[in-house]
Symmetry: C3
Subunit: 377 residues, 3 copies
């Protein structure tokens, strides 16, 4: 079932598969489309519509497989919709999301060379086709380390019956759009432990308990990413700053599943010695220094209808607080899974607040409603 | 044969087909390439070349199919050539043309959610792979409502033996390129009636009588599209205006076929209360308010060589006439169909006039000649 | 084995092949990914890193085949990575690399209509998947005539047992990015002779002697391309100039192979009456008038490890020398071929000099190191 963005899906067969006769080549083709229609209101008590969010949110093609032998894997993912190309920040239509070669030294150790996701926060590493809300949380969008080009290493083993994983990466630190990059790279490490054993079907990287775990399953993880001399406000993402900066991102996350229930949380904190950069006209572009926390809990009914609730908060710190306010979002979601995460319909309702003021009359608050259909193979 | 842009082609099998073993998935892959070389002259009596039009006009990939059951269809179309991405108006390479999910409630009623063509004028809804001239007419390029994201509904039935169709859409009104959109949507309706019965192979949405209808076939249609608060000069198309405007587009079209003969006409009229918008520098961007009319007639010889003639006129009205002149085009076309519309060679010759003056000596008039090869599966 | 960019690969079967039941259609799908990580030093004796070159250099999809009969071939190639789209020069994401229809009149004569490579210098016409260094030489990047849209003709025959080929093209002269073009076209001709007979597997257009020729094989070629009224600094490539210019490019190249040894050289010379163009602010954009020469020699060991050496020089002439200096590059490469050119790892080390000064202490000199993996089918 699972679609894991950190390795090629060569051992779990789905999509359209193609083999050569001599078994020296394997490819698995997939696509995914997410169409949505939703709106935001003018305010908490003014339900007039300020803006529609109606579009093809994602349209992706993906190929996974191996060449010569299953030891040499590859994963390619292309994105064709505007909102999926980082074009509004960079001016470049970044069609290539993943383009990575894997080499499996042993069953426990493999490396990746190319562009794919960094071993960052859990919700980001979850494929966008494995989410229980239409969008990831504001914690992710503010602090995630996303995709980057470089060399990554993945090691997994067990202590007694307890699986653990160690992941590391050295990458350019500038994200998907660059041709060449300065001499500051990014260094990322992450440790995961699953005290009650492996989730069914790699469910620790899939939201909602679609596998209905019969015994409790838990994954705990922590990591850190240091990005030296990045030029972008979000490190691998965001607009170009007026000067380069060093930034650090600490991540703690966990996911728990049992009999249709799932609880997931992540805490992220970003630091930078001097987060602000200015140009000659006095315009500012800055790193969002601060922290965020996301909680989401869900229950899957027998008919594959799921209800989910989410609370997210981001809190600027230091000089970032001159420009940003604390933001909180309360969100409820209903999802009908027709073929697990591949084909589903989702309805989300959110209430968005600023500065810790929850009053409906507060002028900065507003509601959001969103309906999304995902169709993929 | 037909390639219909208003629904997934799940019942007419062509291209490369792929089924899963359990019949829960079907996909039909296609591509289409249109390469052209042509030129425009300096004037009606000065046959020096002012400009070449030599390029890959279209290169598209398309996938149609269903998932879970034939009730849930999908259609995806990607365009890769510059002239096919609306990039020169929007600055965005809009690769996604169609990305839409269909749900078939009954054989007579289905809905579409996503991005595809609106139920607008016939020549636009005809796939660009079903045209008898290399380009659609200036009436279409000036007034068409094109593609949009939203919810569409299609109903068809018969009164006695007379088929009719009702089509409606609620869409963003901003076309393919947008991320989010203001609170003005677009509303489109269309009614079609086929008094002599259905065309062979859905030939009412394919130009030229390639099916050689043995009895007369006629389709009559009328529709209206209202676009509230659009930001673009053509509603779903065109450059961004300096202010938003409401616009209305009325459409009447018909097509008649018999024994290799085909006659097609469409009349479109666009209205806007105040079509002009200005910026602070006094630059103007405007809605083309006015009307247009296109006629084209063709005969297909036994050897699948077709001759076609076209007369098109567009007439600005009101304040639009301050900036635009009446334009008329007379065009002759010869097409050799090697595999119906999939593989064909086309030669078009046009004479283009302004202000109703047809004299070869008139300085604004010019000739155009164009050779185009279409190759698709 | 070979991947030839001047014709559709319908007679050498690789990749994923699809046939229709009635043999009226054939398609061969391929992709290719090149991931690299390398850097440039600050200077010849300062080995600090000035810049990283770490990215998905190429990610391409390709389809070749025929329709109706093998006489009507096609070739389509799409490029998805930023550095492969000419976007930094043109602002347009040129995804379409090749989109061309072939018609084979006889076994000795065929024409092409559409966009593909011009019959220019050998290293350019070599597919980027058939190179023995990670990049082509500076001679190629400075003087190549690259891809263009137009009509091309290819004739081959033998004089006694000596094969020869004549290639010609009329094309727009503006390269891949244009919609319409002015009335100056480009005219290209090339003559090739293979005095010792054909190379194995078309190895005259593949670098390195991967076929281990048992008898000496040699290809000699000369050609000329005249580009009237081009708007771009490199004719079909480069930034837009401030005025159009005529340019001429002369090409001589040869390749020799024997028992794992390969030697390749090319000489190119570009001329323009007035290479400089200025805008109102006095900024200059110019044609690089001058000449260049590239030599590369390689030996393939029994274990499919290849060592290669390259010396390249470009020399500006006339007014171009006001802005450009002589550049020389000395480069060593080691390549491990896992599946000929399809799957290989490459390591290149280069020393780059200016003005003929080779001293490590010279401030303009620097080292480059690059590791690249190519994975394709």
């Amino acid at each position: 079932q699972g679609e894991v963005d950190e390795r090629s899906m060569i051992f779990r067969m789905n999509g359209l598969e193609i083999n050569t006769k001599d078994s020296s080549f394997y490819a698995n083709f997939r696509f995914r489309m997410q169409n949505r229609m939703g709106f935001y209101t003018n305010g908490g008590d003014d339900l007039g519509i300020s803006e529609w969010d109606a579009r093809v949110r994602r349209l992706r093609l993906r190929a996974d497989g191996y060449v010569l032998s299953p030891k040499i894997g590859y994963s390619i993912q292309l994105s064709f919709s505007r909102g999926d190309q980082d074009i509004d920040n960079t001016g470049i239509a970044n069609i290539v999301r993943d383009a990575v070669v894997f080499y499996h030294f042993t069953n426990n150790f493999y490396i990746a060379f190319g562009q794919n996701k960094l071993p960052g926060n859990r919700q980001r590493v979850n494929s966008s086709g494995q989410l229980q809300f239409a969008d990831r949380s504001i914690v992710n969008s503010t602090f995630t380390v996303d995709r980057d080009f470089g060399l990554k290493a993945y090691y997994n083993n067990t202590i007694g019956s307890v699986p653990f994983r160690i992941k590391g990466a050295i990458s350019t630190g500038e994200g998907r759009s660059v041709n060449t990059t300065d001499n500051g790279l990014a260094y990322t490490g992450r440790f995961e432990i699953l005290p009650f054993g492996e989730f069914k079907n790699e469910g620790d990287y899939s939201e909602g308990d679609l596998e209905r775990e019969e015994t409790p399953k838990l994954a705990l993880a922590g990591g850190y990413s240091y990005n030296a001399k990045t030029n972008r406000t979000g490190g691998q993402l965001g607009k170009e700053m007026y000067a380069s900066r060093d930034m650090g991102t600490a991540i703690f996350d966990m996911i728990f599943k049992l009999r249709g229930w799932a609880y997931e949380t992540e805490y992220m904190k970003r630091t930078a010695d001097n987060p602000l950069t200015f140009n000659e006209d006095g315009d500012v572009r800055y790193i969002y220094a601060g922290w965020g926390n996301n909680h989401q809990i869900s229950y899957l009914f027998k008919n594959n209808l799921e209800t989910a609730f989410r609370y997210s908060v981001i809190q600027p710190e230091g000089k970032t607080a001159w420009y940003e306010k604390r933001k909180e979002v309360l969100e409820a979601g209903v999802t009908k899974y027709l073929r697990k995460h591949r084909i589903k319909g989702q309805f989300n309702l959110s209430y968005n607040t600023e500065d810790g003021r929850w009053d409906l009359k507060d002028s900065d608050n507003y509601w959001g409603a969103l309906f999304q259909i995902e169709l993929g193979i």
